[in-house]
């Protein structure tokens, strides 16, 4: 096992030191000229990322080396900085990751601003910072999406976590409006319904919480958090039998491997995400 530890740490060392290829000044000037060419940029991405970094583990030191080579060849490709930052974020090294993400945003704000907001919201729980990014990108791309959700969804999460419930309510309403679409026939994502339910629960609007969470469970009956928070709503309304039933359903789902079903839950907990421990605590509280 000992031999793996330096490899893990090498992520940092490589990211810091870099292995960028040094180019003579004349070549660099020529490259800088070519770097404005999209076809040339794509060819470099194919060379250093598609046929390079993406063929090794992103925990391998080679990953950062390929990214550095791409940056050295063409320092204006935002994707190179994002790719170099990604493993660092997943390993908790924010001091090295965020300057790279900031650089990606500076080079291509339309593509990476929402991503940075997402990282701040889900990974570093910097809700105020995430909100700033999402507000800005919502101006740039009102119909935009990040990680399968509208920007309003993440703004709702941020406001919910900051205790700004009125703003969160408006955000989730906007999120639902965007998902329903112009014809009103679109489907609402089950996690929009989950967080609308959690918000209502925090506001002690129990029947409303119940409505949202039951709708969530219609879409995804094993949803552990929806069952858990619905149990809390029932408990608050003096319905212990229903609360017990949904706590048991939540526990079964967690044991069975069901989760909140977002791509990044393996890297970082989403707000309000629970484990079996919290379910057991709620069951004990209910039994008292």
């Amino acid at each position: 096992m000992g031999k793996w530890w330096p490899l893990f740490l090498s992520l940092l060392g490589v990211a810091q030191v870099g292995h960028a290829q040094q180019q003579p000044a004349q070549d660099q000037a020529a490259l800088a000229k070519d770097c404005s060419n999209k076809v040339y940029q794509d060819s470099l991405v194919a060379r250093y990322l598609d046929r390079g970094a993406h063929r090794v583990s992103y925990l391998s030191p080679q990953w950062a080396q390929y990214c550095d080579s791409l940056i050295a060849a063409c320092p204006t490709i935002a994707y190179a900085y994002q790719q170099k930052a990604m493993p660092l974020i997943k390993c908790g090294d924010y001091a090295k990751a965020f300057p790279l993400i900031d650089q990606a945003v500076a080079l291509d704000v339309n593509r990476w601003l929402a991503y940075r907001g997402f990282l701040k919201c889900i990974f570093t729980k910097d809700y105020a910072g995430a909100l700033t990014d999402f507000r800005r990108v919502a101006q740039l791309k009102p119909q935009g999406r990040e990680m399968d959700h509208t920007y309003a969804f993440f703004m709702g999460l941020c406001n919910l976590e900051m205790g700004k419930y009125k703003d969160a309510e408006a955000d989730f309403a906007e999120d639902m409006r965007l998902q329903l679409g112009a014809d009103g026939r679109g489907e609402i994502h089950f996690n929009t319904l989950l967080y609308a339910g959690v918000l209502a629960l925090k506001k002690k609007q129990y029947p409303q919480a119940q409505t949202h969470l039951e709708r969530c469970l219609k879409a995804y009956s094993q949803h552990p958090e929806a069952n858990y928070y619905l149990a809390l709503a029932y408990q608050a309304q003096g319905k212990p039998a229903l609360a017990r039933q949904h706590l048991a359903a939540s526990q079964r789902a967690l044991i069975g491997g069901y989760r909140l079903n977002e791509d990044n839950i393996y890297y970082a907990n989403y707000p309000g995400q629970i484990t079996e421990f919290e379910v057991i605590q709620a069951q004990k509280k209910l039994a008292d």
Partner: protein
């Protein structure tokens, strides 16, 4: 000046310097190595896990089995015991390996940033208290690969601190 008095003065001066060296609060970390700063550099080897493969926590679903809210509440209770107030804001991350039997290994790296993700150093007392909290966590998951082999894994815990209070624990 007689030699005896000179010797006594030298001894007193040395004692005073030693006192200053060991008792003035320092902001440096336990071990500063080329690869980073460490709370502990001891590498232990559980013979039962020596041949176990090593994975990152996220590829084996091995986050600590408590919600972020539960861990933050427990961390705050733990910090309150020391009755010290650290009015600081930022992130403190501890990175380490959990072996295939579910034991956190002593070698632990520490990373610290301010709220804007710039490297910083908080007080040694705060870092030690947070590390003591990490050491108190005993429910690390054990992970079994699909082939039935048990797995060692790398993981980390980040404490997001706002005005001295733990407001979130990541991941």
């Amino acid at each position: 000046m007689p030699d005896l008095i000179k010797q006594q003065l030298q001894m007193r001066l040395t004692a005073a310097l030693l006192f200053l060296l060991f008792y003035i609060p320092a902001s440096s970390q336990n071990f500063v190595l080329k690869g980073g700063e460490y709370m502990d550099t001891v590498m232990t080897r559980n013979p039962a896990c020596a041949k176990a493969p090593v994975a990152p926590y996220f590829s084996v679903d091995a986050k600590y089995p408590r919600s972020s809210e539960t861990l933050a509440a427990e961390a705050n209770s733990f910090l309150q015991r020391s009755n010290q107030h650290h009015k600081v804001t930022g992130y403190v991350t501890f990175r380490f390996v959990v072996d295939c039997a579910g034991f956190r290994q002593p070698m632990t790296q520490v990373l610290q940033t301010d709220a804007a993700y710039q490297k910083t150093h908080f007080s040694k007392e705060l870092i030690n208290e947070l590390y003591a909290f990490v050491q108190s966590l005993k429910n690390w998951r054990t992970v079994t690969a699909p082939n039935g082999m048990q797995v060692n894994y790398f993981t980390y815990l980040t404490f997001k601190i706002s005005n001295g209070k733990v407001v979130a624990v990541i991941p």
